[in-house]
């Protein structure tokens, strides 16, 4: 029982609840971007080792205003299980200075089982602070040149589970699922590479859920690792 439940639970926890912060730095007005993301919680998988789960999303973003980017992402891994999951949201820069800013990302996560019609939605609200700590600009003789920006960010992610009653009438005791993330952005011209480490659900015990999570908080929560690539179309 043990081995298979471990493997099952690894999938359970990661499939529907994890993605990196979206558009920590909003796009410019009128700008389009495509994004792919790989990563998930780090877990000990029997027979394999300690690895981040290879979850994937693909998405699109659009700079509606100078400080407001709209985005949507399709969770391609859960799609392989017959469940369509998307996250739709906005990144709004509510405060900024020359090299830094704070953004809010209200998001709605929607998941629908194509086969049974069962569905769930989970609201999410993230807040992130970023700081551009280095920037280089060159202008070549042909006029193209390049721009490089290095940024770090940190923030809080909050998932809300509005389903207060679970199977068999059990009370859902995890209606608020917070996570803390830190990350780094490498931007070169139209390409942005994002790495993020996330401390998932540090307020909840990771014991008695039959999966071994290496966590920075001992028996609480789990660690996650994510890598994203953005390409700005315009």
């Amino acid at each position: 029982m043990i081995k298979s439940v471990l493997a099952l639970s690894v999938f359970l926890i990661v499939l529907y609840s994890c993605a990196p912060a979206r558009y920590v730095k909003p796009l410019d007005k009128g700008q389009h971007a495509l994004q792919v993301n790989l990563g998930g919680p780090i877990a000990k998988v029997p027979g394999i080792g300690v690895i981040p789960m290879p979850l994937t999303t693909v998405g699109y973003g659009y700079g509606l205003k100078e400080h407001l980017t709209l985005f949507g992402n399709l969770h391609t891994t859960s799609l392989l299980f017959g469940v369509g999951q998307v996250d739709l949201g906005a990144a709004y820069r509510c405060w900024s200075r020359k090299n830094m800013g704070i953004t809010l990302q209200p998001t709605l996560n929607v998941a629908v089982d194509f086969y049974t019609g069962a569905n769930r939605f989970w609201p999410q609200l993230d807040a992130n602070y970023y700081w551009d700590y280095a920037e280089w600009r060159t202008k070549a003789k042909n006029g193209k040149g390049f721009q490089k920006i290095r940024s770090v960010y940190a923030g809080l992610s909050n998932w809300f589970d509005p389903y207060l009653t679970e199977s068999q009438g059990r009370t859902n005791e995890q209606v608020w699922i917070p996570s803390i993330q830190i990350g780094h952005l490498w931007q070169k011209n139209n390409w942005v590479y994002q790495f993020e480490a996330k401390f998932l659900a540090p307020i909840y015990s990771n014991e008695d859920i039959v999966v071994n999570y290496p966590s920075a908080f001992g028996n609480q929560g789990a660690l996650g690792a994510y890598f994203s690539i953005y390409y700005k179309l315009k």
Partner: protein, 297 residues
Amino acid sequence: MNYIFVLGVIVLVSLSACRKRLDSFLFNQSALTSYQLDNYTGELSITVGDEFAVPDFIIHHLEWTLQEAGKSTQVHAIYVGDISRIAIDTVLLYCHGNKDHMDFYWPRQKLYANIGQLGRFGVLMFDYPGFGMSEGKPTEVNMYASTELALTWLKSQGLTNDRLVMMGFSLGSAAVCEVAGNPSRFSMNPGKIILEAPFASAEILIQDGGLLSMPGSFLVDLKIDNATEIKKVNVPLLWIHGLDDSFLTVAHHGQLVYDNKSGAKEKELVPGGGHETTPTAMGYTNYINRMLQFITQ
């Protein structure tokens, strides 16, 4: 824009056609070319001493034919006891957990064969399709179908419902609850049932594993729902569960099943007992004596 929409729909439908549910993760079977029983050198559910030994002459290797999607496959079983006494005495039908095969659970069958005294009750164990030497696919439907084969064989040997006790361990609790909760679908119905470390339902397993409250169908096609099936069960229940079982916890699984059972029921919660090790923590003699008390009262 319309082209993008159409393309998106095509991609969605194409990818969803590749759906692979996680049902197979619940079946952790291993194939065998022969059963070794006492000579088996692999991992065991528990280890028991010589005081629970079973002589070869009361060990019977059985084979039944299962019809699966128009194909005949063989299901293997082991009966310990005097087959001629099935018509007159009580028999324990043991539905094992989801690990490996009957060799893994053989020490448990020896324990049960010693309830009361050696050979006091006949004990039948079988491998679900895909487990051990049993052919076919390990699925929920096939698990129930192979259980029906066991019941059919016992009935053909003269067993009556009142003398049938079914015991399910872990995954095996699903087979027991399915039979006891749906009498009309099976050729026999137990007079009493014992559930050791039962899980409440596939959905609860999923909701416990994930932080979010999601439908079970998001990940599995399994319909196993012991916590609901048990509501339909009218025969006495003995629930055994280790208090230190961190895989199927008492609070989230066994207790739900027990609470939903109406009528006659008893429980034995075992301090120090893990998922597999409850008999060890309780002490083998105490463990089988508790079962004897329940069966004979």
